[in-house]
């Protein structure tokens, strides 16, 4: 059974008042409410929690954590769940835009040390297309790009770090515990 | 009286406890049948604030290997502040005891409430273990005899810890 370290998130203290759900800007879009996710984790129902798509809707705005009367780090729980599922992407989650984006993002900074946005957009859209064959999505921001270029807001070659290899090494050291380096 | 020296060393521990928290904590340990080493002898005082630290010196004189001072938790003192007075005086007293050559590591301070039978059990367990590890407190053993003008032989010192001695 999956176990994620949740002590420092104080999940055990949750008494289900629902203030996290009440304040969540995207709760309405979630298949399970934040308080329900915390409850699942509290009772060890990690599988069910990861199976939910709630964490992919979460915008990490920290409102839940900030207002929690028991100082439960609800946003932290969402992070943990994302991290966990990132380690073993199920087909559905692999197709999830957010995770595709985040992997593309990390790949990108791993390569350059800093973000190369144009390349990010490219890789990300390609990934989404490959996984989901969403043609419209592919061109969603296509209209945006030229206007960005014309405003000098897109650099075709992003600046990158001189000592670039160090970034790669940092990544390896952090991920070595995990066998999911492929993911990034 | 002429007992052979025992193989295993059993430390003698004297506990000065307050009547309202730690003594009741020890009672609770009893009611809950929480077993702990039999080395401790409890002296009941109204409050740890009552403890004159010469008492500790005395305890070592008569052959104690470790001493426990335990009262109510901060803020819970039956007499509002006695436990703090004890703590504060202990700070001043420590150095004095050290100059007296007393190994202050042999003196333990804790706070045990009337509800903490379990904690009492643990504390006594730990203190006994440390005392065993530290070995007999030769430096002060049998001093009392010396004062009453007797020869202080190691045996005399050790005998104070022999059960038969009582009879």
């Amino acid at each position: 059974m999956t176990v994620i370290p949740v002590d420092e998130l104080r999940v055990a203290d949750c008494y289900q008042c629902g203030k996290c759900t009440a304040g969540c800007p995207v709760a309405a879009r979630m298949d399970r409410m934040p308080n329900q996710i915390v409850r699942l984790v509290q009772m060890g129902g990690f599988e069910a929690a990861i199976a939910s798509a709630a964490m992919w809707e979460c915008v990490s705005c920290q409102t839940c954590t900030t207002r929690c009367p028991k100082s439960v780090d609800c946003a932290g729980v969402m992070d943990k769940l994302r991290a966990l599922s990132a380690e073993r992407p199920s087909p559905e989650q692999a197709r999830h835009h957010t995770i595709l984006f985040q992997h593309a993002f990390l790949k990108n900074i791993r390569r350059h040390g800093r973000l190369n946005e144009l390349e990010l957009v490219g890789t990300f859209k390609a990934a989404v297309f490959a996984k989901n064959l969403e043609i419209p999505f592919l061109f969603k921001d296509a209209l945006l790009a030229p206007r960005m270029l014309q405003r000098g807001k897109l650099k075709l070659a992003g600046g990158s770090v001189r000592d670039r290899d160090v970034v790669g090494r940092i990544f390896d050291r952090c991920l070595q515990s995990r066998d999911r380096q492929g993911a990034v | 009286m002429s007992e052979p020296m025992p193989m295993s060393f059993e430390p003698k521990i004297i506990a000065f406890v307050c009547n309202w928290c730690t003594y009741l904590g020890a009672d609770l340990a009893g009611t809950n049948r929480l077993e702990y080493p039999p080395n401790v002898r409890i002296i009941r005082l109204p409050c740890t604030g009552r403890i004159d630290f010469n008492l500790l010196v005395k305890a070592f004189e008569i052959g104690a290997d470790a001493v426990l001072v335990s009262g109510c938790h901060p803020g819970d003192c039956h007499y509002t502040a006695g436990n703090f007075h004890a703590r504060r005086r202990w700070m001043l007293f420590r150095s004095l005891l050290e100059t007296l050559g007393i190994e202050t590591e042999r003196i333990h301070f804790t706070w045990i409430s009337a509800a903490e039978g379990k904690k009492f059990q643990q504390v006594i367990g730990e203190i006994t273990a440390t005392a065993r590890a530290m070995g007999p407190y030769a430096a002060y053993q049998g001093l009392s005899q010396v004062q009453v003008g007797q020869a202080s032989t190691p045996a005399a010192g050790l005998q104070t810890r022999q059960p038969e001695d009582a009879q």
């Binding site: 915008v59 990490s60 409102t63 985040q102 990390l106 800093r114 990300f124 405003r151 952090c174 | -």
Partner: protein, 280 residues
């Protein structure tokens, strides 16, 4: 006054207008910025979503670099960056073992001596009275809705900045510039932040609400101190219109834009003319 400067990826990319604005107006205030040499990305949401250790290591590397260059304080105009930097700095300060581990991982030992400032804090350091005195053209007629979003104040125990429920530090700056700040309700609501590309619909809905509320309370512009907020509120207005059939036409300023303007700098210098919604 000279400060260390951690621009972060956004300011070197899409939000280069923010960087120009920050540099220009701080220069005008006599605050020199020295870029942290060879800084790397802070990892943003992606890192702490996917690997906890990485989410500490990336900012830790930057803290180490800054410390090596002897910066006591660094400005991170992007709240995401400053939050990540602060979080990492708190962690390594409180946990020596972790600090050593991080030293090993990022190949640079450090104490965590460098403290991190956001843009508003820099203005506060300069002093609002000083700024007030330096104002050349007061911002009359400006009705600003100050928008803090999430990461300027949340999580409070990490940011330790302003009141996370009723923040007022930007309003104070606006007042110093002779403008007025409107009372409104979405100061600290989220705009969708990192979801800009991944989950565009969320962003459009949330940003739409924010712009609507600002307008409803009589604001003629929204002031931000965050590149992501700016992207979502400014760049996405066309998409919002396409999705909701509401045209907001709301100008979105960086706080530094307005300070710069009041100090008499041109829109071009401040990069304001590069905003998507630009009424001049």
């Amino acid at each position: 006054m000279e400060l260390g400067y951690y621009p972060g990826c956004a300011l070197h990319g899409t939000s280069n207008d923010y960087e120009d604005s920050v540099r220009a107006c701080l220069d005008a205030l006599g605050v020199g910025l020295k870029e942290v040499n060879d800084w790397i990305c802070c990892g943003a949401t992606a890192a702490h979503s996917i690997n906890h250790k990485l989410s500490i290591a990336l900012p830790a590397r930057n803290l180490a670099l800054a410390e090596r260059e002897g910066f006591g304080e660094i400005l991170a105009p992007c709240p995401m960056c400053s939050m990540e930097l602060l979080k990492a700095s708190d962690l390594v300060k409180s946990d020596a073992a972790l600090r050593q581990e991080m030293g090993r991982i990022v190949e640079l030992d450090f104490e965590g001596r460098t403290s991190v400032l956001n843009l508003i804090q820099v203005f506060q350091k300069v002093g609002l009275d000083t700024i007030k005195a330096a104002v050349k053209s007061p911002l009359e007629g400006l009705k600003a809705a100050c928008y803090y979003g999430c990461l300027l104040t949340r999580p409070p125990e990490t940011l330790r900045f302003d009141d996370c429920e009723r923040p007022s530090s930007m309003e104070a700056v606006i007042a110093a510039l002779g403008g007025t700040a409107v009372e409104w309700n979405y100061k600290t609501e989220c705009c969708g932040a990192g979801m800009t590309l991944a989950n565009t619909d969320i962003v459009l809905d949330l940003s739409h609400k924010i712009l609507t509320n600002a307008a409803a309370h009589g604001a003629n512009c929204v002031v931000v101190a965050c590149p992501m907020c700016h992207v979502n509120l400014d760049m996405k207005q066309a998409d919002i219109e396409r999705r909701t059939a509401v045209r907001h036409g709301m100008t979105i300023y960086y706080l530094s834009d307005l300070v710069g303007r009041a100090l008499g700098l041109s829109d071009h210098t401040l990069g304001i003319d590069r905003h998507f919604v630009y009424g001049g």
